[in-house]
Every structure is written in C-alpha cells, then in structure tokens.
Amino acid sequence: MRKYVYMLLAIAAMTFLMAGCSGHSESQQSGKPKKDITVRMMADPDFLDPHKATASLTFQMMLNVFEGLVNPAPNGGIEPGVAKSYKMSEDGLTYTFKLRPGIKFHNGDPVTVQDVEYSFDRLTGKSTGQPLSSSLAAIIKSVTAPDDQTIVIKLKKPYSPFLTELTAVDAAILDKKNDAKQNTHPIGTGPFKFVEYKPENKLVLEKFDDYWKKGVPYLNKVTFSYQPDDDAAFMSLKSGNLDLTSVPAHKVDEIKNAFNIIPQNSNAVFLMGFNNAKKPFNDVRVRQAINDVVNKQDIIDAAFSGHGSKLGSHMSPAMGKYFDKSTVGDYQPNVKKAKQLLKAAGYSNGFSMTITVSSHSPVYSEAAQVIVEELKQIGIHAKINVIEWAKWLDDVYKQKDYEATIIDFTGKLSPFDTLSQYRSNDPENMMNFSDEKFDTLMSQILNESSEDKRVALYKQAQEELSQQAPAVFICDYQTEWALNKQFTGFTKYPIYYLDLAHIKPAK
C-alpha cells in the first residue's frame, strides 16, 4: 500500500513538472515571411516625449518614431528629414530649411511650419521662459516661417556643428495639436508609429503607412520587450522569443551559426577619469605615469571579453574622418618610464588613491580591479569604492567629489559635442580639466566654416587631450548584435539608433 502512495506521489510530481515543459510552440514555421520583430529593450525609456528624453537607450528605440529637420545618416553625417533641403548663409548665422511636401504625422495631420515653430519654441522656452534644451536656447536667436514651406533659423553667433543638433535626438518635430499628450501618446513623422508602452514590460510600434520615404518600412510591427538581464535575453534569443538583441561577447561563438552576428563599434569612450583639480592628479606627470602603466588590452579582455578597440583620446574610430588614429599608441605599458615620471612629480614612493565606480554595471568594477593590480607596480595603492548609480551621479558627477572614476560616455553625432566637456568652462566638465590650448582649439572649431580645416582642428584637440591625459582613455567596446536569420538589413549608425525601417524579411 505505502509503496503505491510513494509511486503515486512521484508520478504526480512528475506530471506537474512536465506540465510546463511542452509550452513552447514555434509559431513561425509557416511559409510566410516574418514581418513582426521582437527586439530587446535593455532599460525603460526615460520619457516618451523626445524633448524631455535624454537617455541614449530611449533614442535607440524612439528614433524610429521621430524625425528632426534632419536625420542621422549611417556613415555618421546627416541627411534630410522633415526638411527636404537646407542652406547655410555665408556668415554661418542663418539656416534656411524647405519643408518636405506632403509629409504627415502619424495621426494623419500634415506637418506645417507652425508645427516646426512650435517644436523649437518648446525646446528653447521662448514663450514659456522654461527651456527644455539649454544648448539650443543659447545659440538660437529666432525661428521664423516666411511662407508655409520655409523655415528660417537665425543664430546668435556662428556655431559650426549646428546641423548635427537638429536630428530627433535634440530637436524632434512634434505635432502642435498633440501638445497635452507628447509624453503619453507621442506622435512623430518617423517610419513607425507608437502603439503602446507598458513600463518594465514592452513598447510596441506599428508600421506607418504614410511614411514619406516610399518602400520602407518593411516590417509591420516592432515589439521592444523589456529584458534588463544579459543572460535572460540570451536565453530568450535562443528560444525564439527575441529576434534582435546585443549578446555578451563571450557568448558569440555559441550562436554564431544560428544567428546573424553583427559587431558594431559603440562609439562610446570607456575611460578612467581623474579629478584634475585634486592633488596629486593636478600634476600632468602623475596622470601620464598612470597612463603609462595601465594595460588597456587587459581591461578590454577582462571587462569586454576582448571585444573592444583601444583608444588614445576621447574619440572612437566610429567617428570616421574625425578620429585621430595616431593617439592610440601614445602610451604603451612602460613601468620604468612611469616610475621616472612619478619621481619627477615628487611621488617616488607612490601614494594612495580611491577609484569610485557605480554599481549599475559590473564592467566598471571589473576594469577597476585590473587597474588596481597594475597600479601596484609603481607603488600606487588604489582602493575601489563601489556606489549606487544614484549616488555616483550625485557625488561624482554633480559634486565632483572623487579622485578617479571609471565611466563610459556614449556616442554623439557631432564631434564637437563629443569633446566639449573638456572645455574649462563647460557645465559638463566633470573631470575639472582646464587647458588653454584645448579651449582655444575648440573655439576655433566653432567659427571655422571649412569642414577640412575643422577635421584638422578636431585631430589637434584629440592630440592635446592625449598629451594632457585628463583621463586614461581605455576603449570603445563593441556591441555584438545577434539577429534572427529570418531578417536582414541591419544598418549601423555612430549613435544609439536601431534603424528598424531598413530591416526586412530575408527572403
């Protein structure tokens, strides 16, 4: 009798366990090409309203919904968007845009010059007195519409990177009639329209049939599925619940035959920044000595499984012609040289320091652990202080109360914005860096109208940063994208932008 009870129990337990196993059905076995895609969403959007949103991960998704007067181009430049064409005056103070004829918002409203005026008014805070973009508010003098096809923007002073600040990242064109609902039900002019958003769950977009560019998008529906965890996302990818996601570098080999793997330079700068105003980091020799002893390749191997490119200054190769390749080799691991530099700076016995890093991603403390070990060679005893992201933003970023920190800066379209934080008076100068030569170069760039000369100046600025070493510029890590083989057409951009309009069924 008892034996039966045991057996029954065992059987009951087994059936219960098995009940959940058969659940997974692959629904895409039918012959039709797959036109719905599920993409991983790593974090929630900060705001759906593009004028309030700042996070790069938000724009990675929402650039499919919004457009600016110009759009980001795959090669790193810009191309026409809501504006069909644009022209800059000789003195660099007046920009004239022609509206694209027949362009519509997702709700069917035609895009008018009033909508453009409204959008810029909202950003610069002209009528409310409360700007949403202090940089646009600082450079734009006026936005006017001489006729119903033309927009004229006048600047207060020449600002050469102006056009790159007119993409949807900084200045999306929004429907004036949707004013009350920009954040709850956003409406743009992009290839996909917003359908619904459930926090920490999903964001759904649908094809916009009236999109001005004919033939795109190819897909009918895009679902961004919230999946903050790399491992869970990887499992979901393998089980067919996700079609497109970034995967940890060390997992690539496991799936490289089953998926399209697309490596992409993130255009990020991963660095260890010093508080340049604080002793002993106010001495350039100390900063150079640390640069001489840190082995960037070790950090790339440890924190990014070898998938990253070494940097020499604050610019990634993803920036194309602006990137100064010569800086990469400026510092090679050289303990002897580092010791000499430290001795010259008066620290022949080394010193103690603290590296403050945020806990929101393990890569920072991983890199820190490698650096701590390497600094021991020149007598520097570093301690790691891991704090919450919220506290990091407060203490390190805002109060600048730190000695050294490890962080990454995500890519921007404009090389000027990429470098601007090192200007002495820049509000975002978190490293307290101040260098006259660098400041001069940057203001020269603003007034330089020749693109070729600007490129040369950008390179000089990068070299100056490399020499002055406000940070150890470590690497640009690669993102490894895995795309379901039923799709093709992944397009790379130097900013966080997953262009889903050009993704199409493979056959």
Binding site: D298, D301, V386
Partner: protein, 272 residues
C-alpha cells in the same frame, strides 16, 4: 521531539565538524592561500578545475580556491558582527520589554512587528543606500535587521521567567530591576540565546550573499562568496563549476550553523 538518551546528537557532531572545517580554512587563509587572491591573469581565465587550480579560475584568471578561502573570512566576519549587534541590542530591547511588560512592551512589540512586516531585503537595500556598501556597512545593516527577531526570542524567555519563584524572591529582597534583568534572568535563557545566535549567524550569511548577489553588499576587491556567485551567473551554462564552488561553500557553512543550532536545542531539551 523524543530522543533516546543513547542516541548521539548527530546534528551537533556533523554541524560542528562542518564549521570546524571552514573555520580552519579561514584561519589558514590568513597565512596562506595557494595564489595571491587578487592576482589577475586574464590569459588564464575561466579554467576548469585542474591540479594547478583545484577549483578553477574566475573570469579574471584569479584562483577560485584562494578566493573562496579568503571569502570565508568575510562570511565569518559579517556573521560575527551581525550576531554581536543582534544579541546585544536584541537582549536589551527584548529583556526590557519582557521584564517591564505593560505599555512599554506593547510599543516595542508593535514596533518589532512592523519591522518584521517590512520586506527585509528592501530594508537592507535602503540601509545600504544610506550608509554605503562595503564589509563593515553591510555587517552593520544586517545586524540591525537581525535585532527584532532576537529581541522577540529574549522577550518570550523573560515572559516565562519573570514570575518564577527565583525572580520574585530576588525582587522581594530589593534587587534592582537592571540587575534582575541581566544578572538573574539572563543566565537562565542563555541556551535560547545561543540557539538564536547561531540561527542569526546562518541568516546573516544568507542575507550577505543575497545583498552581494544584488551588487549591494561587500565590494571588490574584497572577496565575497555572494558576489562570486553573481559574477559567475553569466557563465553558468558553459562553466558551471564557477558557480558551484562558492554556492556550495555558502550552503555548507549555513548548513553547519543550522545543524549546530538544532543540535544545541536538542542538548538543552534533553537536559530539561
């Protein structure tokens, strides 16, 4: 439970042996580990167990055995601090509440009930957010968390004892209340305190590893068994031993304390 007098106290023996084993390892780790715990050799990373690295290496190429040995220091340190804090404040608060009774008891107990209704891990996260992370801060936060349940145990011990003859006698000859609490009653609930202490020790280890697992506990480069586990999670399918070594270590130490506490309970049950 009923035990024949002849039956050996297996819980006490096994639990004690496990703990003795890990304590020995901890003591050894102060003087000797096979490799430098923090020595990074990226080229050597994620090695499976071998004769050179008995438990393999982690993703920095550090020796897992050395890190686990040092990790037991953290575990025992956090556990000890938590038990000391918990027992100290727990017996003062619980003792006063149990002995004095009345409105004081009512307020203290409601306070404790409320704290216990609060999700513990969230309270820990909030305390850590305020005071920061690191070994000492983690230990302090967890010590505060361990206090209410110990206070409860002490209180019920006092409730049972305070009207017994020996206490009444002491009171009638004019012994001061503080003296009664600490000198007269306390020795009589030592056995309960010891059991509560070892349970708290086990709880502290579990809580520390949970916090470190969530990235909020002990911080690198200090080795923590919980953090080693969370670091290993992304490699769990390819390199399961990476997770198994720290996971089993935590489990066995906690098991040791649970068995010890059960054994101690049996011991006192048998005596009474």
């Amino acid at each position: 439970m009923i035990h024949s007098k002849k039956k050996r106290n297996m819980n006490l023996i096994i639990g004690g042996t496990i703990l003795l084993f890990f304590l020995t390892i901890m003591v050894i780790s102060f003087f000797y580990t096979p490799y430098d715990v923090n020595k990074i050799q990226v080229a050597n990373k994620l090695q499976p167990p071998s004769s050179a690295h008995w438990l393999g290496t982690d993703k920095f190429g550090r020796d897992t055995l050395s890190r686990i040995m040092t990790g037991t220091q953290t575990a025992f340190f956090v556990g000890a601090v938590v038990v000391v804090i918990g027992l100290f404040f727990g017996s003062i608060i619980g003792g006063l509440a149990g002995y004095l009774g009345g409105w004081f008891d009512e307020i203290v107990m409601r306070f404790i009930d409320a704290l216990m209704a609060f999700p513990g891990i969230i309270l820990a996260i909030m305390i850590v957010a305020v005071f920061g992370t690191g070994i000492t801060d983690t230990a302090l936060a967890l010590g505060v968390l361990a206090t209410p349940s110990i206070a409860r145990i002490v209180r019920s011990g006092f409730m049972q004892n305070k009207d017994l003859d020996y206490v009444v006698a002491a009171r009638s000859i004019g012994v001061s209340p503080l003296r009664i609490i600490f000198k007269v009653i306390m020795p009589n609930i030592y056995s309960q305190l010891i059991v509560a202490g070892s349970v708290a020790f086990a709880g502290a280890l579990l809580a520390e590893s949970s916090l470190s697992y969530l990235g909020l506990g002990v911080q690198p480069p200090d080795p923590s068994l919980g953090r080693m586990l969370s670091e290993s999670q992304e490699y769990i399918t390819d390199d399961p031993w990476y997770a198994l070594a720290p996971g089993l270590t935590i489990t066995f130490i906690v098991l040791g304390f649970y068995m010890l506490s059960n054994g101690l309970r049996e011991l006192t049950d048998r005596r009474s």
